[in-house]
Symmetry: D2
């Protein structure tokens, strides 16, 4: 089903209030200042699905029913499908300037679990995939937004889940009933939850048998009983409580999901103790996620180029004065986008039918996603000048102050546009580079160090040494030395 923005907002309003921020319960996420911006961001996906210009990208034909569905509810079975995942994400950033996690992680999760349930069912004789199929059909039919959640609270990074002083630091099954499971723990820093209607849960790590209770996957309504959501802060988030242009109308949100003995009925459970496959979940998820995440930062980078053009002109200058910098920004954007597409094209089809990107290249892309956008941000600040760098300008309130507001307008006007437009462009630049619009792309979807480890694991050092030996004409063995002598 393709809903309108209005239908989507109505559905959100109908959910029970279990979200909090700054000690306050949020009764209506669509209007509360802490959440309305992320809701607005996600609503633009529904606008796009109903816009002739964008509907080919935002909708798709269901592989199950042949019906027209929201693209993010569907399956990704071909290179084209996965490229469209990336393209949709880049488009969303171009519409909103930031991350709309509800259009992304749940989508990826359901596809990954399609592959995993296939493998598990084959090995264990379970029927997880049937359950999943039923849920996907329902999601397609309702056209819902479903967030996704992997990251556990984790506790001491030096200890495995079962070694933690508090076992709840990783989400776990505390009870198994005939009709379902009961889970306790927390998923933290989960993006887009406040704008989503359901949440798809994946295990947070690759576990061994000692940690079987942590190998759990399921999907829940956002307002399920026993779930409390605390919204995290983000840079300059208090500004969102005021009116005016000190912050744009779109936004991002991340929540801490606190599960207090929540019951999940069997039909929504897709893994419950099969630790052996938890590593595969991470492997498949990160392969696709890290292939596509380059499109996100590319889309934000596009907006940073645009903000740079605006600032140049608002300062009275041609944007061409900065075209070397803008070219560097464009190079950065297309690098993470293009390398991600490379990762997809080097992947292939899983036995279950879903497309899996190439792990090595996808993780490599994460290394760039964790570095290039920082340079793009720096360049955006360099173009915009001092007021952009740290958003060093008067507030919306001061700008409109009866005593000195006119003086500020007089001194802020520069190029051939109003002082307000100059400030809006500057605030956008601040928001994108050092404000609430900055997405957590370095650690989102896992750390760059983890990504490097994957690249290293896929680099066959010894094979390369053998090739080099042949070219050098070396015939004897050259072996790794024994452990070094003490020094």
């Amino acid at each position: 089903m393709i809903r309108t923005r209005e239908q989507y907002l109505k559905a959100l309003k109908a959910l029970k209030p279990n979200i909090y921020k700054n000690g306050e319960q949020i009764t209506d996420v669509t209007s509360h200042p802490a959440t309305k911006r992320t809701v607005e961001s996600h609503a633009r996906a529904f606008d796009a699905a109903n816009d002739t210009k964008f509907k080919d990208l935002f909708t798709a034909t269901s592989y199950f029913t042949g019906n027209q569905i929201m693209r993010f509810n569907g399956m990704m079975k071909t290179l084209e499908d996965i490229k469209n995942n990336a393209n949709l994400k880049r488009a969303m950033y171009r519409f909103t300037g930031t991350c709309s996690g509800g259009t992304c992680v749940g989508w990826n999760s359901q596809n990954v679990m399609w592959a995993i349930t296939h493998d598990m069912d084959k090995e264990f004789g379970t029927s997880y995939q049937k359950r999943l199929e039923k849920w996907i059909l329902s999601a397609e039919e309702r056209g819902i937004l479903c967030a996704g959640a992997l990251t556990d609270a984790k506790g001491n990074r030096n200890l495995k889940p079962h070694q933690q002083p508090d076992l709840d630091t990783n989400l776990r099954i505390v009870e198994r009933r005939p009709d379902g499971i009961v889970v306790r723990g927390a998923k933290v820093m989960i993006c887009g939850v406040a704008a989503s209607e359901e949440i798809f849960i994946l295990p947070g790590g690759a576990y061994k048998d000692t940690d079987a209770d942590f190998a759990v996957s399921f999907v829940v309504p956002r307002d399920i009983d026993g779930l409390t959501i605390v919204e995290a802060r983000r840079p300059s988030d208090d500004r969102e409580y005021s009116d005016g242009w000190d912050v744009p109308q779109t936004g991002i949100s991340q929540g801490y999901l606190l599960f207090q003995d929540v019951f999940i009925p069997n039909e929504r459970v897709f893994m419950a103790g099969e630790w052996k496959y938890s590593g595969k979940v991470i492997e498949y998820f990160t392969a696709n996620y890290r292939a596509c995440i380059g499109a996100c930062v590319a889309g934000q980078g596009d907006i940073m180029i645009g903000a740079g053009v605006l600032m140049a002109r608002a300062n009275g200058l041609s944007h061409k004065k900065f075209e070397d910098k803008m070219l560097n920004m464009s190079i950065n954007n297309e690098t993470t986008y293009g390398l991600g597409v490379g990762a997809m094209a080097l992947g292939g089809t899983h036995a279950s039918g879903v497309w899996l990107s190439d792990s090595k290249t996808a993780h490599l892309n994460k290394v760039y996603v964790a570095t290039l956008p920082y340079e793009t941000k720096r360049l955006c600040q360099e173009i915009g000048g001092g007021i952009v760098e740290t958003g060093c300008m008067p507030s919306y309130k001061d700008y409109n102050d009866p005593k000195y507001g006119e003086l500020l307008k007089k001194y802020i006007k520069a190029g051939d546009c109003s002082a307000e437009s100059r400030l809006r462009a500057a605030r956008l630049s601040e928001w994108l580079t050092i404000g609430a619009g900055v997405p957590g792309c370095m650690h989102g979807g896992g750390s760059p160090d983890g990504a490097k480890m994957v690249v290293k694991a896929y680099t066959p050092f010894d094979q390369f040494a053998e090739m080099a030996k042949k070219i050098a004409g070396i015939t004897e063995d050259i072996n790794e030395p024994p452990a070094p002598a003490k020094k």
Copy 2:
């Protein structure tokens, strides 16, 4: 005179209230949430001056009187003096985590104007230096904090001051009286004003004769009649209005100084129309300022290393796991510090007796100051993990919420310290890298593009070509071609 923190705070309280933020007049800068943090930062300079461990750095012997004075009130005549300017700034960052502009720009300004007044007096027969000496003696005696201001509102970046539609977009002399001058215009994004007692004004650019009225330098009390100061926003500045550890106790401030026909008596005027020397002011100021600014970002980088160590341990890990990253951070810090010292050591003594750093190397250093700290920040975020990257964690209020606060504590605790300490370290990291602690080092003191132009101007391309010709054994002339043919 060496005052105590208490004496300094008392002096601030005694100033007339002419500072505003968010439409509100700030009656006491030492206690108002918008300014108390920058005041706290500056107060630590007075603590240091009275601390046996730091007083050698924070105090000095007056070249005029032989009395013990605050170092930032004195003259810089030797390589040692200018190195101590850098060292004091690095120390201030280590005490506060951010910029205390009141200890820095005014100090540099008085030294630069010492050289300029010497040159002007010699050429024009004026007696500016005597006026300046008198003021310096008074400043030394009172031990005051004096901010400094160069940056004008500027208006259209494509037009010179006298070409602007509104002549006031650059601060200018609107009237010359027998006993002084009257000035109108704005100095914008001026650091540390709210914590300072006086403000040293320099011309904002290198002017020609058509712009003589803009070539003006003087010093005023912060609360002089006709001056209105509007504090600029900074990232996450609204948090400073709440209690708790969502932001540290120190801070930075930047103000917009609105001069509405302010009268400056002659004894405080050090340039009034001598446009020919306005370029020299910029040249001397930037040479010393950009040589020393590397110490600022180094000092903040030191704190980022420290924050990284804390975060590692708070996550249960040894900081050694991240020592490559920390080493890179250290390399960045020592690069801007050491290259700045190189610029100083390649400089020399001006005829007036003050030390001037080498322009080429100082501007080169600015290129690094505009880039390396961004990498240092990125590394600090990489070490700290997801909660650091965008400060993605619950607020102080949520942490203490009676309903779910305990749950948050349970899930935030990780290593062998309290959840609160982990959050404090994470908030510090956010504040340093994407919060109110980020100083505007890229554009502060001028843009990196301007710096590169100086380096280019000092690179003798043709001489290098001649040297290359000799080594290559080329004897004919190889000339620059005529202007290119149309394509």
Copy 3:
């Protein structure tokens, strides 16, 4: 046809001697020290085609005949085909350590000209594609190696071909006969010619009508009458005249092709004056070439990792001591490879049936190809130590000197392998990083500056500004200012 190495060498020997170096005519390229190494390199392609392990990559099924052919004689019509172009090139670098241009440029040229002749025939009613098809069928059948040549002598870079004082500085048609054309000029720095049997000529630039005579494409036997080939130098090329391990047994060659009024019969002419399509040739050629060239430098980088492993062990150390550096090398390799695959996957099928990669991403890849391998080389040198950095070790002759050879062996031995093996690994490292094995990847296939211009041309600055405006809530137009006022 799939020939053996022996058949290939025999074919080379049968060619007329028109190649020179150091004033000497090379009568047998397979045994002359100046050319035997590049011949050995190319011969390994025939070994691979006859090796069960590699034949799937090195051979293919003809789209025309269904026969098994050398892959580099065939058409590239699918994403898989073009990926295999990249894979074959990477494999060749892994076999030889360097560039085997004869397996690459001619192959790409024939595919590009397949598309161009299609377009020209459609517009002009010519029948170029038929001619080309006939030649391709013959090439497939014979299984020949065909080099490719674009780069003209060019003359003054500021002038167009017809403006040059000497019109011959770009290869041109000097006579048009009923049965063919006569061409004069030079193609310079052409790779792999000495090991090839034919040479495919493309126009060297995008021409206008004034330069129609330079818009010419054809294919010639390497030993055609009127063609003189002078081999260029390369680093340490004189060593190739001596025995021993001062240089490996494989190698690269680049020639200056001097065309002195060479007659080309019509059936081998594929463009003769159609200037309008010369730009398309460059566009299509560079799109595919720059998508695939990342695989070349990746393959060489693989060998550099291998050489690093050997050097570490030859010095008595585990290669793990250098694994961060090796990981960086691997990241660089996979970046140019993966981004190239991204460019392919973002491309599509031309109306003629051949696959064309995405220009923007392919040119972007060239930017990396022109930078990352330099870092990889530096890392290889850093791992190898001082003797690798500039190949600072005794010559093969000194190593075997009766007077002091034993002393050298005594002092050169380090780890658990012979002194000779250590020297061979070091010489390989030198050869790869600062010797005759360094391919000209920065300017080969065009300059990185040209590549950046393409990326810039594909970046829609104004569209990005419009998107940014929407997010910032700016409703007025913000236009490019008029040309700047004089300063």
Copy 4:
């Protein structure tokens, strides 16, 4: 004494022939093709000392006698003295395009040993400094060139000297006689030996008591009995045996010094077993050497800028087309120069009177010396185009070939200078970036990894954590965790 070039060459000719290359004994280093270029390089130092324009830099006043001496024979006691060490080295690179090691390492060695002998004499009651003073006086008086040597053959990098299977892999005392010592072993990759008259030997590492026999320092005539010198190869070194412009007239050399039981009389021995001070030798030597080495690569970078200007013009283009690249090159040059001066200025005077640079900053500089010049080289190649990148052009012989030489000239000419000048500029560029002119700056004077370890050792991680704690308001201890649990 200030000798002329002629006096210097005569002195070299008078030495006994103990140098070999390619199995051949070199009887006259001033005319033999393998060594005449490095001799020419060093001879230019004597030209400069007799040139009014440069004599202030190349000569100095002896601290001992007040006589005018070659600067590189004298003591460095002030910041000015050590800056002039750097300036002289930069000048030598500008004269020669490459490294003249004979003007540098011996000079630094004698100064370092002045400090070390002071300390040893004080602790052990020896009179090493008197011996050294006598030798310095003699060197000053004779105005000789003295190379310096630290690097041992080393053997297995995993073993200490006394653990090596062959004890000779590090130079050692094999016999102690009343009148002197006998040494055996090798110093390898020693720069400028062929152009020097004496060689100053330092220990190659920081040793413990078990390795006392390796802690040895002395100075010998280059042609001392028992010393055999084998010249190492360098890129394209065989070209130096031919005439023409395929290589410039200046050059570098590095030798393997084979000591076969060489007797050193006491008056030339400055350390003989005092292992405790061997580490100090390394510390002091590297501090000064790595502070100054930035000037070397800066000087070579200056020539690369010049070569870039020549190539641009020889191609018919203004050098301004490449000014961004040239500015980057200049930035790199001034970075290593300026940071080195910073290291000097952060140093101070040793108790013995000599100036010691700051270790941390000097080693930091080495990190840049091991990276930035690679970028400068890349840029030089990027400016010069394809013929520069790998020197891909015809040889001098081919250029003058009667059959096709004229054709080559026709096609090589481009801008407004002769084809020969264009080739000379291109060959210079090749020689500087990938030829015999490339100095071994990455490993010369020790590896960058070693340098980073020093920077790390000087970074007070825990102090920074304490500072960060104060700013964050953390009061509890946050300690390093215990060793990680097994995973």
